[in-house]
């Protein structure tokens, strides 16, 4: 593995560790329901500060179940990851194509074909 790839792998490993450690170390154990969303907790806190607050608008569309919701979140991540992968793939392909063209031009005439 090149030094570059080692650094990149290390970066990813730290990110994974940061996400996994709270679960592994049981940092949610003090809660009734561990690892809920912070937005849900904020809603509870709002009701504590202002017990008669009623949300005055509800979402136009709400996923019918937790499964559908997680599917849509996965879809969002997949769309983003797909575009990112397309970008890096395109760049890599272009670069390789340029290098090949430059090598071919250098071999045939010694001057760039363009």
């Amino acid at each position: 593995m090149s030094r570059n790839a080692k650094i990149n792998t290390l970066l990813l490993a730290v990110v994974v560790a940061l996400a996994a450690l709270p679960v592994v170390l049981g940092m949610g154990d003090h809660k009734e329901e561990p690892f809920t969303g912070s937005d849900a907790q904020a809603q509870t806190a709002i009701t504590e500060n202002e017990p008669d607050y009623e949300p005055w608008f509800s979402p136009l569309y709400e996923p019918a179940s937790g499964e559908i919701e997680s599917a849509l979140f996965a879809l969002q991540a997949a769309l983003g990851a797909g575009v990112l992968a397309y970008y890096f793939g395109l760049r890599r392909g272009r670069r390789q194509g340029e290098e090949r063209a430059a090598a071919a031009a250098g071999a045939s005439s010694g001057t760039p074909a363009e």
Binding site: L18, S38, Q76, G80
Partner: protein, 231 residues
């Protein structure tokens, strides 16, 4: 994690909407100028938006025993300046509000202000400041992305504390409460986002060297390096 639909009083919702609108409009103009003058940057802009899309879909456990998600706005703010992220961040928020019931339309203004405006500007400011101190570029990128992520949730806490002050301790008490929920949870996630942004920036500096030089993230390559030959 954004403010849920209907969870800001109408007056606050309208005020944050009014505060965000000029930034988003200005951002849309800046974005179309950028695309017109540098059509080749459209792809990288798309990739920056995609990064925000991925990161804000990932709810990650944190040390407080709750989950939150990063924002991914630091990368685009560093590459294309914060106005571009006002648009890309708002698009992401709109997607989540419409399809995922995450965040909301009435709270879109407030959420856009924290994630698409305040976060990118804070991250960009930290990044520029550290660059001026001549720190290594990737160190500046890390702290820029870290600041963009964390400040987003600090602003969210302020927004909620303004709308829902504590009955006894007022704004300060509420800020401590919401800060404990959002900002503290966010610290390890902001570190993760910083590291991921560095990772993507490292990949970009290999694959899109010319682009990054034009955007001022990388120093121009020396004539003897291979990059100069490839261009």
């Amino acid at each position: 994690m954004h403010i849920a639909e209907g969870y800001l009083p109408p007056l606050h919702a309208a005020a944050w909407g009014a505060a965000s609108a000029p930034f988003v409009i200005h951002g849309a103009r800046a974005l179309s100028r950028e695309v017109k003058s540098h059509p080749e940057s459209t792809l990288l802009l798309g990739a920056s938006g995609a990064f925000t899309f991925v990161l804000s879909a990932l709810k990650i456990p944190s040390v407080t025993g709750s989950c939150s998600h990063p924002t991914g706005t630091g990368l685009g703010a560093i590459l294309f300046r914060p106005p571009a992220m006002a648009v890309l961040g708002t698009i992401t928020l709109l997607f989540q509000a419409l399809l995922l019931a995450h965040g909301g339309l009435t709270t879109l203004g407030a959420n856009a202000f924290s994630m698409a405006i305040a976060g990118p500007w804070a991250g960009y400011a930290v990044y520029r400041l550290l660059r001026r101190l001549a720190l290594p570029p990737m160190v500046c990128v890390f702290f820029g992305a870290f600041a963009a992520d964390l400040s987003t949730y600090c602003v969210t806490s302020v927004q909620l504390a303004l709308a829902f002050p504590d009955p006894s301790s007022g704004f300060a008490g509420a800020l401590a409460k919401f800060g404990g929920i959002f900002a503290v949870t966010q610290i390890p996630l902001a570190v993760s986002e910083g590291l991921l942004t560095v990772l993507v920036m490292r990949l970009l500096s290999q694959s899109s060297t010319g682009e990054l030089v034009r955007l001022g993230v990388l120093a121009p390559a020396r004539p003897d390096s291979t990059e100069a030959v490839a261009r």
